[in-house]
């Protein structure tokens, strides 16, 4: 499974990568982008199966990236997991309304990440089975 990790802090990108590898995802299939703009360019040029993105980033924020993904016909079904320090009610609602698949508040741990990822893939499988 090809995963794009989007965060302006290189330390957080590495932490998420390490956790994903720990959960059994293939390290070479994990790629990184440091803001929404770069992430969108990568998403349009190569296939990905999942996006894990931060909210607060320069140039293009995570919520704008999510909206851009949902607005792009070739990407609109992409699962997006938001991992962010933003814990305002309004922001969580905004992310839900924009069509986020999961929302993790930092600081978080491997158990939470696993739980949210499992839920995302279960829902996708259920939607695929009922379609």
């Amino acid at each position: 499974m090809k995963i794009l990790v989007v965060d302006d802090f290189s330390t957080m990108r590495r932490i998420v990568r390490n956790l994903l590898v720990e959960l059994g995802f293939s390290n070479p299939l994990i790629q990184e982008a440091d803001d929404g703009n770069n992430a969108l360019t990568m998403l349009k040029s190569q296939p990905f199966d999942l996006v894990v993105t931060d909210w607060n980033m320069p140039n293009m924020t995570g919520i704008d990236l999510l909206r851009a993904i949902r607005a792009e016909p070739s990407l609109k079904g992409m699962p997006v997991l938001m991992v962010t320090a933003e814990n305002n009610r309004d922001q969580i609602i905004a992310a839900a309304q924009a069509g986020v698949n999961g929302y993790i508040v930092k600081p978080f741990n491997a158990v939470t990440l696993k739980e949210k990822l499992t839920k995302i893939f279960e829902r996708i499988a259920a939607a695929g089975a009922s379609a």
Partner: protein, 213 residues
Amino acid sequence: MSAVLSTLDSGSMPPELKDLLSSTDGAAFEQALDALVRQREQHLFRALGLLARDLHGAVSRLGHDLAQEGVPGRVADVRKHLNDVLEMSAQAAHRSIDFAERMSPEADALAQNAEQVVAWAKPGDPSAVLANQAVAFAANCREGLNDMVMAQSWQDLSGQRIKKVVNFIESVESSLLELVHLTGALAGREPPPVVEKISGQDEADRLLSEFGF
């Protein structure tokens, strides 16, 4: 009106007002009242003028003091210090993650080899006891290393706060500069001397070697 008048001490009342109140001439009453109001307005305008002059003087002095004390430069320094903290904390966090990524496969290899020893050893063999210890130790190490990687998220969380402070300082800095420019205090001021800084011990050694150290 009579109730108000009765409370006034006629001795402390200005004579003009006393005459005005007792006058039966309506036109004269109006005229005198207008004169009183105008007099009052003039006091107000004079007070406003003084306030405006004081405010202008205070803003000019503030702008001048800010420029003289090098406040804009110091604000830029503070911003740079915070960005340095951001950079140094990122480097420290990366070093910790480097260490964990290097040690994790070693812990896995130790566990694997020790498990083989346990499988081959006869019951009660001292090597089996040691190998079991190694398996437990490797598992603990692995868990500890994962925790260590996770703990580095402090850099992201504290870094985001530092970035917010840097942004705030930037807005204060631009307001200060605007104030200094507005008051014209920068005119004729000499730029502060540039302090060259070295990047680390290597550069310090190179610099010292040029002087024969």
